[in-house]
């Protein structure tokens, strides 16, 4: 569904992504793990169009989207949940969700999707008139995921959904991610919490200082010695 070929990104003189290639097939959860500064977020931002590409290609269902603007990519079904729970704090939960469907014109379906989001996250329905800034961290994470779903994405890009959340909540968020995927949305997940990410991912890539150093199924990587040593705290 999504294919990246030899992607290169520079921040000024810093070569942030070096010839990255990866594929996400329809219906998969693919995770990108790696240490701080490895280029995980850069990869997501480049896919969603927030960063410029210096070289290489991004294909969505065979069609190049490398030079499309971010809004055009959202229209094609790529939706990003940015890192760090970026809600609109002064707006209500409802208004936040409404903005997720900003580019859509099909009012009836929007209403249906809103119902779906409320069903998936009952706490959001309960708090729909509250300003989003007053929600707890976990609720805010649910809100940004709900907001991203409001654009009816075909592929959802999740950037560190577990960041700063209590372990119990992390587990909940990950089971929701799995649910969303089972309902038919393809997911590309960037995570520092490698063990959690590998446990739900079909396939995974490991990024190190801007290059992909390893790839395989979630299970394979979770069992690999190098991964255990570097990311999972194993011996």
């Amino acid at each position: 569904m999504l294919e990246i070929k030899n992607l290169n990104v520079y921040y000024g003189v810093i070569h942030a992504l070096k010839d990255i290639s990866l594929t996400v097939n329809e219906g998969e959860i693919v995770t990108l793990i790696g240490a701080n500064g490895a280029g995980k977020t850069t990869t997501l931002r480049t896919i969603s169009g927030l960063n410029k590409t210096t070289g290489g290609e991004i294909l969505l269902e065979g069609k190049a989207i490398t030079y499309l603007s971010a809004p055009e990519r959202v229209k094609l079904g790529i939706s990003q949940v940015p890192e760090g729970r970026r809600i609109f704090p002064e707006m209500t939960v409802f208004e936040n969700l409404e903005l997720g469907a900003y580019l859509r014109k099909d009012k009836n379906n929007i209403k249906k999707d809103l119902e779906n989001v409320y069903q998936r996250f009952p706490i959001l329905a309960e708090r729909r008139r509250q300003t989003a800034g007053t929600l707890s961290g976990g609720e805010q994470q649910m809100l940004v995921m709900g907001r991203a779903l409001m654009s009816r994405p075909r592929i959802l890009l999740l950037d560190e959904p577990s960041m700063g959340l209590a372990p119990l909540l992390v587990r909940e968020i990950f089971s929701i991610i799995k649910d969303i995927n089972e309902a038919g949305t393809t997911i590309l997940l960037v995570e520092q919490n490698a063990s959690m990410a590998l446990s739900i991912a079909h396939r995974a890539y490991v990024l190190e200082t801007g290059s992909i150093v390893m790839s395989g199924t979630g299970e394979e990587l979770a069992r690999s010695n190098e991964i255990q040593k570097a990311y999972l705290g194993g011996e």
Partner: protein
Amino acid sequence: MTSVLTKKNLLILGCILLTFVLVQVLMSVGFITSFHEITLATICINIILAVSLNLVTGFTGQFSLGHAGFMSIGAYVCALIVMRFDSVAGFLVGILAAALAATIVGILIGIPTLRLKGDYLAIATLGMAEIIRVVFLNLEITNGAAGLSGIPRYTNWFWMYLFVVLTIVLINNFIRSSHGRACISIREDEIAAESMGINTTKFKVMAFAIGSFFAGIAGALYASYFYFIKPNTFGFLKSIDILVIVVLGGMGSITGSIIAAVLLALVSTFLQSFTAVRMIFYALVLVIIMIFRPQGLLGTKEITDLFKFRRKNERIE
């Protein structure tokens, strides 16, 4: 739902007309003297300036220190036109040309500067406004530092009030539209707005252009009320004055800007009899309000939120 003639709108229209008639009557019986009228004009012009700057700074979150620059463009364009075509028609054409000229310059300045954020944007807009001022200072047609005098006076209570109402209604409707929502989302979180597929540059420039449009109108009204304009009238301090009204009323509150504009004009008029300590008191009032209400008088709320007619969230639910 679809009709414009809802109970609420009729009530608002009634209030608007009533205010107009009331002030008109008070003026004709001499309760509002010509001295008071100057304060009234200041209030009206400041409301237009503050509400339009609030769209840029309060709602879209783009900190601009150049509003007086756009005002000056409006003032000069209108003055030059109305001095040549000395009639009400000339005045109205002047206002329209003033607004359009300010909008065009606003777009031209907005496209390069709105890439900047926060302090950098403030400095860039400040610089742009200074450039506008220096251009007027050196042009022959604007008569340099001496400025233009003897501008025919067509601005009266009727026109001022009309444009104040138009400004408020149009900007309010813009903010409640989906475009306005996009602008607010940029203030709330630009990265999130971008990842929702909102073209942030487009909406920032749009807000800036609309803000300049109304600043141009305010400048035009100013020129045709005070007979006389010179480049230094529209310097850095004028931009700060407008910003003070916006911050004081609450960034993101239209009614807040209106109240603050009225309040500051009244305070300043009242203090006119104490010339020596006037600015000290004025500054003290500002400091005190900022200490006790750092979010401004109304914050991001509107005064009408106090008596809501219908909860806006019930639209889709």
